[in-house]
Symmetry: C2
Subunit: 155 residues, 2 copies
């Protein structure tokens, strides 16, 4: 690394650092906070329920594509969730190969509980942030995710 880094490169390096750190801390937080809510609904199940809730019932492939996961991963995740009564599977009327996955009321309830717990956690963590900073963080994270997603998807 020569030291002719521009201010912009430094900023990018900082973002890189902080995202890497956030991944690690997020993992750790998820584990540490797993006293109650998290153990009953693992990361992937939560994200799947969130997506079903927002985007509506859909089949395994659609889910996999949307979540950047392999179909087999989603299959297993979904079958575990089915075993636990969190989702329902109905044959896709339009395609005999497909199965449509939809959240059950129990699933939605579980999702909401985890969401509430996490929201509470963030309220705690960001207790002394100004509403303004919180809003800006939410906005920028959203834009970052959009950008990452755009980069990932058009493979």
């Amino acid at each position: 690394m020569s030291d002719d880094a521009t201010a912009e490169e430094i900023t990018l390096g900082r973002i890189e650092t902080e995202v890497a750190l956030l991944m690690r801390l997020g993992e750790a937080t998820r584990r540490a906070t797993g006293t109650a809510e998290h153990r009953v609904l693992d990361r992937a199940a939560y994200v799947i329920l969130r997506h079903l809730d927002k985007a509506g019932p859909q089949n395994v492939s659609a889910l996999a594509a949307r979540l950047n996961l392999d179909g087999s991963t989603v299959t297993r995740q979904v079958s575990a969730m089915h075993r636990d009564g969190l989702i329902a599977r109905t044959p896709d009327p339009a395609d005999g190969r497909g199965t449509v996955i939809s959240p059950t009321p129990a699933g939605l309830q579980r999702m909401a509980a985890v969401q509430a717990a996490r929201t509470r956690l963030y309220g705690d963590i960001l207790a002394n942030w100004s509403p303004d900073d919180r809003g800006t963080l939410a906005d920028l994270l959203h834009r970052l995710n959009e950008a990452l997603d755009a980069r990932n998807r058009p493979r």
Copy 2:
């Protein structure tokens, strides 16, 4: 979820959502981008090298504590890195039980390469962001990490 959520609660929910999403996308990006740089240095090794580089040589326990990882995890990670010549282990002169881990030149070089690749990636992803927004993102992520860390550490 009753709908008496305050604006603040909504913001927290958004942050929660975006962080969860970022974790997923970050994973996916790491995997997808793994064409060259990432396959030679996995996530944990990278973070360990970064930390050694910044905070200086230290023993396994210190690393584990700092990274919120179990000692056994770090042991294995470190021994893989040792096998690959990325770090050196010297007996701790002050404590016969301990081993001090330090990055080798090869390790630092590898780390720098990954870092550069990631920085480039972010430059690409955030190509059309204003310098201002990038700076703000870096700042807020930093503060978020500090807050998460503070929450995690004082166990």
